[in-house]
Structures are given as structure tokens and as C-alpha cells.
């Protein structure tokens, strides 16, 4: 039902024709809508107090309620609602004052009550947006409309054991009742790259909000893609039947599956000419190893879920003041941060993206360094180049890094000292590496910045000292002087190496400049 509505909506939207599949001769647009199920990071389940911890022994995180025992009654977990509300507000959704719970009814062994508590006609939010863009310019920045985001409980897990010629199924109900936020997009996505960007941006937002760990391996983030093609033919516009693709276990799988499915639908279209409405909506599963989608047997006559309001639960009332409060508490979100880093701090879009994608803690670190040093550009450069490199090498988190090694204060001090010349820029990276290498268990053990500087013998070299050194080197290397005079300026490089050996604190650029100046003045020439 919902997918048909999407289709109608998208008819009125301007259809953007983008040919991303090069082998296709005819123009078509791939129209994609995504349904994302996000497991909310609550301690306990949506309607009982069982733990939501992943990986426990099967059926150990259950109670009479989540195994559907007679007489049990659900009580809403307020934390789950609050996390959902936070997400919906961050997605710019409308939050109605009144939302209710409905029962979605079907029979399946991993659904012990015979119904799933979900939200049907009055979801907790609707009508949001998520902006996507691509720093590699694969597509134009665009706003993806969010149809709705609603809360529901997860079902259990069926484990089919078909070994030994048996067809036994085992059910693990640990997951039953885990809170899920289903975020449904409008069919506004037009290519696998856009779909991937949408998912990445959504995941980043969820991570910033701290509402989910978004771990796809553990099923904390699940994606279904609704895909069809809009084609321009001689006899006008047409669309292929919508296919829902399930079993997408990574963003890469989403990209590949959509790409495959578009090609498949195009072939079927050429063979059959079947249009939307001429075939029922189909569900296909993605086979990652084979790289194909396969038709799935539709669930036992499941088309009619007989939704009705759950009489065991009371509606949830959310007043505009509460929504405003949530909005005010969100903090700066990825899109706004990227914007600030490019416009205020002069970062390239690419660097801003790199930084923001690393998560809120690293951005906060960077912003603190920028603030303390008064040099945002240097702060960003140090973080994107040196800090990220060290984190990757050491496999540490930014939290560990700043606590055990280089605090935002330390890095800010380094930047300031380099700027003032107290620390020769030639030795700044070496100094940073030493600081980054040390792992202090306690604050008391920690060497001060000055102590590290001292231990490395770093000191400012004044210009007269440098001139003396250059003169000495030029006098000892008449060949090089001659080479330079004959136009081979690069020959001066050998002198820089020697200078650094004599005094590691010298600035190579300065040595080069001074030497060339001295040669120009005629110093060291064979008279």
C-alpha cells in the first residue's frame, strides 16, 4: 500500500533522468525508496524489562511478556520513545501531539503473540527530510523526503537447521520486543550511489544522536529497498512493478543489489513490457555471494495484517513544548558541522566530510583545539592529517588518545608554539609523534609540553646562528656553490641535509633561502 502511495507522489515530482548504468541504451530512471529499521540503544526492550544485549545464549533474555504468555501486558519503555523522538526531530519530522499503538497481525513462529506492536495510521512522526551530497560529485546535493518514522517491536529470530535431512527450526526470542525505529523514505533516490549516501548520512546522524550503535552485523541497522524503473518510451512514460529487496546486510550490498535489480527489471521490461499495477508488488532477497536478487515465497497470505489499535496500551501525548525542548538539546548535527567547518574554518568539503564522518568526539576535539589555539585552519589540518594517522596506526579512539596522550590543550599549545617560532616547524611533527606515542596512565605521570620539548632538545635557532652555519657550509662546499651559480638551484638541497645533521632545529626552508641569498651576494665564490 505505502509503496503505491510513494509512486503516486513521485509522479508529481520532477523526474530527473540520470543514466548511471552505461550499458543501458534506453533512458530510464531508477526510483528507490528505503525502509531502514534501526535498533534503538535502550537498556531494555520496548514493552518489558528484558535486556537488549546482543549475543546472549538463545532465549535467556526473555520473560512472560516477550514470549507472549497469556495475561501479560505491555508497558511502554519511555527511553525508547525519547530516542525515537530525538531522531524524528533531527530528521525535521512533524511530531503530532497524539500517537497510538497498533497491532499488526500475522502468524509466524518467531512472533509469539501472533501480532507485532507497531504504529499504523498515526505514527509518532512524519514528513521529514535528510540532505545528501557527495564530495566526489557523483550526484548533485539533494533533499530526500522522509515519509515517516515510527516505533515498533522486533520479532524473534528463526534458525533453520536443515542438516541431517531434518527440517527443524529453532526460535530465539532474545530479540523479540527490542525497540526498532522504522524510517521510511519517499522514493526520492535515483541511483545506488544516492542510496548509499543516504544510508551513510542517516547512520552518521544516528551515531551523532547516540540513539543506535548502527551495527549492521548485529542487526542494529537493517535496510529494505523498494526499487522500480521509470522509463521514457515512444508511447510516453511508464514504470515497472515495484520490487522490495530484503536481506541487505551492508551498504555495499544495498548498492550492488539496486544496481543488479535495475538491470534485471530492465531486461524483464524488455521481455514482458509489464508495468506497475499489472503485477503485484514482489519481494526479492539479495544473495550477496551470487550477486543476484531472487524471488521470495510470499509470507502465508500475509497481505492483510488486520491492523487495529492495541487496547493494552494508551496513546502517547507529545506537546509542542516537549518537541522544542528536544530540538534545543540536539546539539550541532553533521550537516551543520560540515557547513561550519567549510565556511568558518576554511576546510575543503572533502576535509570537512572526513572530519565529521569520524564522529562527534573527534569534531569536538578539533573544535576545542581550534578554540584554544585561535587557529582553526591549523587545528583542522593537524587533526585530519596527523591525529587521524596516529589513531589509525595505534587503533585507539579519540577519547583514549586525548585522555592518555595528546589533550586538546597539548595540541593547541603545539600549534601556538610553532606559530610563534618557539618550536621550529621542522620539528613539530617529530614532537607530536613523541607526544602521541606516549600513553600515560595517570595525569601525574604526564610530562608537560615543555618537558617533552626539552627532552628532544628542541629550541629556537636565531637568524645570526643560521647565517653563520650557512656561511660555514658554503665555504666547505665550493662545488655546490658553483653548481648553483651555473643555474642548478636544486644542488642546494645537499646543504640542507648537512645543516639538519648539524642542528636538527633548523628550518630547511630558511636554510635554503639563506644559502641562495648568500650565493647571490657572491659568498663562497671562487675568486
Amino acid at each position: 500500500m505505502i509503496e503505491i502511495v510513494w509512486f503516486l507522489n513521485s509522479q508529481s515530482a520532477k523526474v530527473e533522468v540520470r543514466k548511471w548504468h552505461k550499458s543501458m541504451a534506453e533512458d530510464f530512471t531508477t526510483v528507490i525508496g528505503l525502509e531502514v529499521h534501526v535498533q534503538l540503544a535502550t537498556q531494555s526492550k520496548l514493552f518489558c524489562r528484558c535486556s537488549t544485549q546482543f549475543g546472549a545464549e538463545p532465549n535467556t533474555q526473555t520473560c512472560p511478556l516477550c514470549i507472549g504468555m497469556p495475561g501479560t501486558l505491555p508497558v511502554m519503555n519511555r527511553e525508547a520513545y525519547d530516542l525515537a523522538l530525538k531522531t524524528a526531530v533531527a530528521l525535521d519530522c512533524e511530531i503530532p501531539e497524539f500517537t497510538k499503538w497498533d497491532r499488526k497481525q500475522y502468524y509466524y513462529p518467531d512472533l509469539p503473540k501472533g501480532y507485532q506492536i507497531s504504529q499504523y495510521d498515526l505514527p509518532m512522526s512524519s514528513g521529514g527530510t535528510l540532505a545528501i551530497s557527495d564530495s566526489q560529485d557523483q550526484f548533485e546535493p539533494k533533499q530526500i523526503r522522509i515519509t515517516r518514522a515510527h516505533l515498533e517491536e522486533d520479532a524473534g529470530k528463526s534458525i533453520h537447521d536443515e542438516a541431517n535431512g531434518k527440517a527443524d527450526s529453532e526460535i530465539d526470542l532474545n530479540r523479540t520486543g527490542t525497540p526498532l525505529l522504522e524510517i521510511v523514505s519517499e522514493p526520492d533516490l535515483r541511483s545506488p550511489a544516492e542510496a548509499k549516501a543516504y544510508l551513510q548520512e542517516l547512520k552518521l546522524l544516528l551515531t551523532y544522536l547516540g540513539v543506535s550503535d548502527c551495527n549492521m552485523q548485529e542487526g542494529s541497522l537493517r535496510v529494505d529497498a523498494n526499487v522500480n524503473l521509470h522509463l521514457e518510451t515512444d508511447s510516453g512514460s511508464a514504470a515497472t512493478p515495484i520490487v522490495e529487496i530484503k536481506n541487505l546486510n551492508s551498504f555495499r550490498a544495498v548498492e550492488r543489489a539496486i544496481e543488479y535489480e535495475a538491470g534485471r527489471q530492465y531486461r524483464v521490461w524488455q521481455e514482458t513490457g509489464q508495468k506497475l499495477g499489472e503485477a503485484p508488488k514482489q519481494t526479492r532477497g539479495w544473495d550477496d555471494a551470487a550477486g543476484v536478487t531472487r524471488g521470495q515465497r510470499s509470507k502465508e497470505e500475509s497481505s492483510d495484517y488486520r491492523y487495529f489499535p492495541d487496547p493494552d496500551l494508551v496513546p502517547v501525548i507529545t506537546l509542542p513544548e516537549q518537541v522544542a525542548q528536544v530540538k534545543a538539546s540536539l546539539g550541532e548535527l553533521p550537516a551543520a558541522l560540515r557547513q561550519r567547518l567549510t565556511t568558518d574554518f576554511g576546510l575543503s568539503e572533502y576535509d570537512a566530510e572526513v572530519l565529521v564522518n569520524q564522529g562527534r568526539a573527534l569534531v569536538d576535539y578539533t573544535l576545542r583545539v581550534a578554540d584554544l589555539s585561535g587557529d582553526a585552519k591549523s587545528a583542522c589540518n593537524w587533526v585530519t592529517q596527523e591525529v587521524l594517522r596516529v589513531l589509525k596506526e595505534q587503533g585507539r579512539s579519540i577519547e583514549q588518545f586525548q585522555e592518555q596522550s595528546v589533550s586538546s590543550n597539548d595540541l593547541a599549545e603545539l600549534i601556538c608554539k610553532v606559530k610563534s617560532g618557539e618550536v621550529p616547524s621542522a620539528r613539530a611533527r617529530e614532537l607530536f609523534d613523541v607526544m602521541a606515542r606516549e600513553i600515560y596512565v595517570s595525569f601525574e605521570d604526564k610530562l608537560s609540553f615543555e618537558e617533552v620539548v626539552k627532552s628532544l632538545g628542541i629550541e629556537q635557532v636565531d637568524e645570526s646562528e643560521l647565517i653563520d652555519l650557512c656561511k660555514e657550509l658554503l665555504g666547505a662546499n665550493p662545488r655546490i656553490v658553483a653548481d648553483v651559480q651555473n643555474g642548478k638551484q636544486q644542488a642546494v638541497g645537499a646543504l640542507i641535509g648537512q645543516a639538519k645533521q648539524r642542528n636538527p632545529n633548523v628550518d630547511p626552508g630558511q636554510i635554503r633561502k639563506l644559502c641562495l641569498e648568500l650565493i647571490e651576494q657572491g659568498f663562497g665564490s671562487a675568486e
Binding site: P64, I67, G68, M69, P70, G71, T72, L73, P74, V75, M76, R103, Q105, Y107, P109, P112, K113, G114, Y115, I171, E300, S303, D304, R306, Y307, F308, P311, D312, L313, V314
Partner: protein
């Protein structure tokens, strides 16, 4: 309560009281069939414990040592909870319902589990999968239902107090037909946690007793807000057991025009009108009121209740607990079917055969449920189906709102509404078994209170010439249980209908 005073005064022990009721059960229940399960040892050991603690001057609960019977639909870790269904024949709940927990906290002696219509669906207790319950006033007649065992055990003095549930009249109607007091509280007044659901938006737990004061005491014990039930009301709980003795002054009593329409048994009408006259003699003013939408109440009820039931009973699928069909028999059945289709060369039939899972569901539910439960599951499934939802379920919800509005308007003008509980006194066993619709119409006067969420009480107000009890129903505004019991007690104090008892049924 007299028995409670004797117990607390130490003039009688709980073991003596409990043994007395157990003896009465042995003597009478063979004929009446009110109990599905009675655990003599458990009851006596609880009684002995209370006696010991009383001896030691330890603090004791409100009902200390007093036997209470519980309808077999409320979970109790120490008892089965079959709901009178084959589906839950061997079900032992792993947790206590809030009502049972409160009774245990009150140190009541839970003496046994009473018979009922399967999953509380019915008005005669004939839908029990296990046994018939007979009306103690006439063993050829039904005790009413679905709390038939709960009412019959009190009427036959096999328990001084009992717990029933009322979804469309299931406490008030059997109380009326058995000549005892039965009270359905406001929806949300008593926790539904641990009550095996029939229709969640209508179900309510309530007390049955020999008089209004005892019912008030039991209500006070089990009522109150429960965080485990989201629909439970967080409202102050009046001290019903003491307030009950204060008569209402200036009582405004409403008589519903529609209640005295065609179809009301003349003896019942006479008794109810006489009861109204008693109120007038006690100083009440009587006013005729109208509940124009009440004529739609039964139809509305039989859309909403089965809709919710069809969903609530989906969980009995043979997977996780409860009855499951014999799997090898099921597999053999499928194999035979397939063979026959193949022999006939009917490949389409082979392709359309049930999967083993679907056949397991079908057989499990076909075997586990009785016909009335199946009928209601089908009614509800139909009413909620795509294409019918608006015409049935949604419309029923709208009418339900109108029914509530009728009552809201009525309670602007009157404090209590008085009327019959049922149109007829107790009917013969089997009399309506072939006619489900006639059975549904028995709820005519009681379902409105469930749809509107109001409290209602049934109390004895007379007898037919053939000696069958007649019940008076009083209804009050939501949360006005205090008015309800004080008004009911006034009548009881002025009459002695509640003191009559059926002859002993020595078997």
C-alpha cells in the same frame, strides 16, 4: 464482615473456617460443579500459617485466613490457569496476576479455581471444556456466565468471597441468576495484569459475595493503580469497606425507559419496580431517563469484543506453550493427502496443500478451542479484515463513544441508574445451546457498562414464584464505585433477599 471479625478475635481459626468450606465443597460441588480445581493441602497450609502468625501476633493482611475462590482466568503460580479451555489444559503460569498477588498479600486463603465459559466467552458456563456448572437454586438451570462457577460457589456457600471477570456482564449476570452480589468496577480500577485477556478494552476483574459489604471489602483489596497495566487508572482508592455502611442522602435514582421495553419478564419487571419503590421509601427521588443508543449496545459489543478476542487468542498457536497437535499424526495426514492428490493426478491441489507449519496451526487451534471461541475468532477476524474494518470495527468504536455520551448526560441528572440485570431469570441448561444469537441477547442490560467503562453491581431483589433469584442492577458514573456500593447497601439493609439460601444439594 462477621467471619473476619470472628477470625481476628481468635474465636475461630482459619483452619476451621477453611475446613468448613472445603467440607461444603465436598458435599455440594459434586452436584453444582463450580470448581475446576481445589488444592486442599495448599489451602489448609495457608490457613495454618495465618493461624500461626495470628497466634504470634504478627501483622496480618486485610483478609487474613478468609477463603477466596478465583475464576480460572487469573494467573497464579500455585494453580493451573486453564481458562476452561483444552488449549491451556496443562498451563501453569510462571507469574502471579496482580489481583492474585494482592489477595496473597492480604493473606487470603485461595481455596480453588472456579469454572467459566471457555476464555470467558459465553453467558451460561456451558462453554467450559471441562464440566457443567449448575445453578444452586435449580440444578436443571444454568448459573449464567461466564463467571458461573464464581457465582454458584458463593450461592452454595462453598466460598464466602469469589473473584470473577466481567467483559459484557460476566460477573453481574451470573450473580443475578444465582442470587448473590457481583460488582464490575470501572474499567482501569482493578489491574488486568495476569488476567488472561478476552477483550482487553472491556475486561474487568471484580468481586462476588453474599452481600454488598463483603463485595466492597474484596473490591478494596484488589483495586488500585498498577504500573504493570498501562490502562490501570492512577486514582485514589476510597476505603470502600467502611464507606459502604453510609447510606446516600438525597439519592437521585434513574430509571431507563428502554429497559422496560418488550421482552422483559413480568416477574423480573415487578421485582425491579418494587426495588425502585424501596428506594423511594428510603428518600430517593426517581427520574426516568433515556439512553437512546443502548439499543445498539449488543451489536457494538459483538463487533468490538470478538475483534479484540481474535487478536488476543492468536498467541495460542501450538508453538511456545499450550496445546499442540500430535505432530506425527499431522505429518501422516499431510502425506496421505498428498498421496491421494498425486494418485488423482491433481498437481494444483498438491501445490496448494498446507505447509506443515500451517497445518500445525490449523489442527492445534481446531483441537484446542471450543465452538463458541472459534465463532468469535471468526467474527472478529472478519470485522478487522481489509474492506470491512471501517464498516464494522470503526463504526462500532463510534457507537461506543455515543453510548458513553448517553451515560455522561444521564449522570448529570442522576447518581445511580437502576434496572434489571437480565430480562429473564436463570434459563435451563441446554436451552440456548443451539441459538448463539439468543445467548448474546442475554447481555442486553449489562454490556453498556462495559462499553462505557462504568461500574455496575448486581444484587438480589426478589424471587420468581418458582423460586429463582431476580437481580437488580445499579450503574454509576466512572470511578463512582463508592456511590454504587453505598446505594446498593442501602437497599440490602432495607430488604432480606440476600439472606435467602438455596436448599442443600446433598449428593
Amino acid at each position: 464482615m462477621e467471619l473476619l471479625s470472628l477470625l481476628s478475635a481468635g474465636e475461630i481459626t482459619s483452619v476451621e473456617v477453611t475446613q468448613g468450606y472445603l467440607d461444603q465443597i465436598s458435599a455440594e460441588d459434586g452436584a453444582v460443579g463450580a470448581f475446576l480445581h481445589a488444592d486442599v493441602d495448599l489451602a489448609l497450609s495457608k490457613a495454618a500459617e495465618v493461624d500461626r502468625r495470628r497466634q504470634a501476633n504478627e501483622p496480618l493482611g486485610r483478609l487474613a485466613g478468609l477463603p477466596v475462590a478465583v475464576k480460572d482466568v487469573l494467573c497464579d503460580t500455585q494453580m493451573p490457569a486453564t481458562c476452561a479451555s483444552r488449549m491451556l489444559e496443562n498451563f501453569r503460569p510462571p507469574y502471579d496476576s496482580t489481583v492474585v498477588a494482592k489477595l496473597k498479600e492480604a493473606d487470603a486463603v485461595l481455596i480453588g479455581r472456579t469454572n467459566m465459559d471457555e476464555f470467558a466467552m459465553g453467558g451460561s458456563t456451558e462453554n467450559s471444556a471441562y464440566q457443567l456448572t449448575r445453578n444452586p437454586w435449580d440444578l436443571e438451570r444454568a448459573p449464567g456466565g461466564s463467571s458461573g462457577g464464581a457465582a454458584a460457589c458463593v450461592a452454595a456457600r462453598m466460598a464466602p468471597l469469589s473473584i470473577g471477570t466481567d467483559t459484557g456482564g460476566s460477573i453481574r449476570q451470573p450473580a443475578g441468576l444465582c442470587g448473590v452480589v457481583g460488582l464490575k468496577p470501572t474499567y482501569g480500577r482493578v489491574s488486568r495484569y495476569g488476567l488472561v485477556a478476552f477483550a482487553s478494552s472491556l475486561d474487568q476483574v471484580g468481586p462476588l459475595a453474599l452481600n454488598v459489604a463483603d463485595a466492597a471489602l474484596l473490591l478494596e483489596t484488589i483495586a488500585g493503580h498498577d504500573p504493570l497495566d498501562s490502562t490501570s487508572l492512577d486514582e485514589p482508592l476510597p476505603a470502600y469497606s467502611t464507606l459502604v455502611e453510609r447510606p446516600l442522602e438525597g439519592l437521585r435514582l434513574g430509571i431507563v425507559r428502554e429497559h422496560f421495553a418488550e421482552g422483559l419478564n413480568p416477574e423480573v419487571e415487578e421485582a425491579v419496580r418494587a426495588a425502585v419503590a424501596v428506594y423511594e421509601s428510603l428518600g430517593a427521588t426517581v427520574k426516568e431517563i433515556s439512553l437512546p443508543h443502548s439499543k445498539y449496545a449488543v451489536a457494538t459489543y459483538y463487533v468490538i469484543a470478538p475483534s479484540e478476542a481474535s487478536s488476543n487468542l492468536a498467541r495460542y498457536d501450538g508453538i511456545h506453550y499450550g496445546h499442540r497437535t500430535d505432530i506425527s499424526a499431522m505429518q501422516a495426514e499431510l502425506a496421505t493427502e498428498q498421496k491421494a492428490f498425486l494418485a488423482a493426478g491433481d498437481q494444483i491441489a498438491v501445490d496448494n496443500m498446507d505447509s506443515p507449519l500451517v497445518r500445525m496451526y490449523r489442527r492445534t487451534r481446531a483441537e484446542g478451542f471450543g465452538s463458541e471461541v472459534k465463532r468469535r475468532i471468526m467474527l472478529g477476524t472478519y470485522a478487522l479484515s481489509a474492506g470491512y474494518y471501517d464498516a464494522y470495527y470503526l463504526k462500532a468504536l463510534k457507537v461506543r463513544r455515543l453510548i458513553r455520551q448517553d451515560f455522561d448526560a444521564a449522570f448529570e441528572e442522576v447518581d445511580l441508574i437502576a434496572g434489571p440485570v437480565t430480562a429473564e431469570p436463570a434459563f435451563k441448561l441446554g436451552q440456548m445451546s443451539g441459538d448463539p444469537l439468543a445467548m448474546y441477547l442475554v447481555d442486553l442490560y449489562t454490556v453498556s457498562a462495559n462499553l462505557a467503562g462504568l461500574p455496575g453491581i448486581s444484587l438480589p431483589c426478589g424471587f420468581t414464584t418458582s423460586g429463582l433469584p431476580i437481580g437488580l442492577q445499579l450503574q454509576a458514573a466512572p470511578l463512582a464505585e463508592e456511590t454504587l456500593i453505598r446505594g446498593a447497601r442501602m437497599f440490602e439493609q432495607a430488604t432480606d433477599w440476600h439472606q435467602r439460601r438455596p436448599e442443600k444439594k446433598q449428593s
